[in-house]
């Protein structure tokens, strides 16, 4: 009981993932700054932002539904942390696992977007409502390619559990080559999920103030920012577990280092992509996803089906 509580709350649960996500945010912002030829924020920046926001006054608009307005950020945070507990990190086995957990993790990572939508909608600000509607519109565009990318990797491994997937790819390391298309499709879909720059129409600060977060301040805003950071780490860990399972037979320390390196690699790719692209309009974003990403996902699915047919003969 105490051991389970420790692993949920401290390691590798809430506190560990919180610190890790702050460092991931720092890496993202620093790389973004360096790529723009700036110096960038110091390493403690995300910590300072978080502490400052927690200590600020929180304002709940009079028109807003105050219960939903306050519950939404907590709900979002809880769902990403739960998702994180089911992802294998530096081991083949996650803290908890069961058959079919890859689907559960994917849906748990969808919940923050729903929470952002609900929180934004019930804050009754016009800007927040536009942002929320855009967030939910975007959800329908990137969710399908993300599922296709990750589930076709699961298809090749012939299992619905993340444990089975990591074990399979660890035993057959060369198969990750067949999943390269899926990896990039999932990476771009993940950027849509995190509302990073080419897909940041939901919180476009130059047109709709701050999107769904317009009315949020203080503690609640801090929770939402923490949610997005943890979602970045959880998404990167998921991609690392599914697409880059290398060296899982090594000693613990080496595995832990490899895990951190993989997360950093994916965060670096996200920072690179968000630096070189500018924001897409919401209709361009939808068109891009359905015209290019979904067909690529289908190609990945076909490759894996054919490969599986060849293998099982």
């Amino acid at each position: 009981m105490i051991k389970a509580l420790f692993s949920i709350l401290v390691f590798p649960g809430l506190i560990f993932v919180g610190v890790l996500s702050f460092f991931a945010e720092f890496a993202d912002r620093k790389l973004h700054a360096r790529l723009q030829n700036r110096i960038g924020p110091p390493w403690f920046q995300p910590f300072a932002d978080f502490i400052k926001l927690v200590a600020k006054e929180e304002i709940i608009p009079k028109e807003a539904n105050s219960t939903i307005f306050q519950i939404a950020p907590v709900f979002a945070l809880a769902s990403v942390i739960t998702a994180f507990l089911y992802i294998p990190l530096w081991d083949t086995r996650a803290l908890f696992s069961f058959d079919g957990d890859v689907i559960v993790v994917l849906y748990l990572l969808t919940l923050p977007t729903m929470a952002i939508f609900i929180g934004g909608w019930y804050s009754t600000s016009l800007f927040a409502r536009i942002g929320s509607v855009r967030a939910i519109t975007q959800l329908f565009a990137y969710e399908i390619p993300l599922f296709m990318g990750i589930l076709s990797a699961a298809l090749l491994a012939d299992t619905w559990s993340l444990y089975g997937i990591t074990v399979f790819y660890n035993n057959h390391p060369l198969f990750w080559l067949s999943n390269i298309i899926g990896f990039f499709v999932s990476l771009i879909a993940l950027m849509g999920k995190l509302e990073k720059v080419p897909f940041d129409a939901p919180e476009a600060e130059t047109e709709i103030v701050a999107g769904s977060f317009t009315e949020y301040s203080g503690r609640f805003l801090a929770l939402f920012r923490l949610t997005l950071d943890i979602e970045m780490v959880a998404g990167a860990s998921l991609l690392a577990a599914v697409f880059l399972p290398v060296g899982l037979n090594l000693p613990l320390f080496a595995r832990f280092t490899i895990y951190l390196a993989e997360v950093l690699f994916i965060v670096g790719l996200i920072a690179l992509l968000r630096t070189i692209f500018a924001r897409l309009r919401i209709d361009q974003m939808i068109r891009f996803c359905w015209k290019y990403m979904v067909p690529l996902g289908f190609i990945q699915l076909l490759i894996n089906l054919v490969l599986k047919g060849i293998l099982s003969r």
């Binding site: 723009q36 200590a55 006054e57 977060f213 009315e215």
Partner: protein
């Protein structure tokens, strides 16, 4: 208790988020404020971020004299910000009304409507002066 205070002050100094509001400037001060945010001066290394929503910001950066039309809007934006909040007046006009003082449509400097924490003179105030003013305001938080 004391250490909690110290951490809080440290966080506030290290992470000032600003929002820029033009209360009727001739636009030169606004251009200088934008220039201070460009990669050349890179304010993000001090943790400064430009925010779009008054609810997220800590510092309201105002430029220009307060016109009678913008007066109630300025008040409303100030009210929308969450405590603790500060106001910086950028440019001579924002400090006192400047050359526009006494015009039929001008109320006066920013401090005729809302309390101001730091005044940065200059017509227009240069980016370096703006950064210097902001740093001085943050340093005064320590006391």
């Amino acid at each position: 208790m004391d250490i909690r205070r110290k951490i809080l002050t440290w966080a506030r100094i290290k992470s000032p988020w600003i929002i820029h509001f033009n209360t009727g400037a001739c636009n030169a001060c606004d251009i200088e404020i934008i220039a201070a945010l460009t990669p050349r001066y890179d304010l993000e290394r001090f943790g400064v971020q430009l925010k779009g929503a008054p609810r997220h910001a800590d510092i309201l950066v105002c430029s220009g004299p307060v016109t009678r039309q913008i007066e109630c809007r300025l008040e409303r934006i100030y009210e929308q910000m969450a405590e603790p909040k500060f106001v910086i007046a950028v440019g001579t006009c924002a400090c006192s009304g400047g050359v526009f003082n006494g015009c039929y449509n001008i109320k006066g400097g920013i401090n005729s409507v809302i309390p101001v924490s730091a005044y940065i003179p200059g017509c227009p105030a240069s980016p370096k002066a703006i950064i210097d003013g902001a740093v001085k305001l943050l340093a005064s938080l320590k006391k």
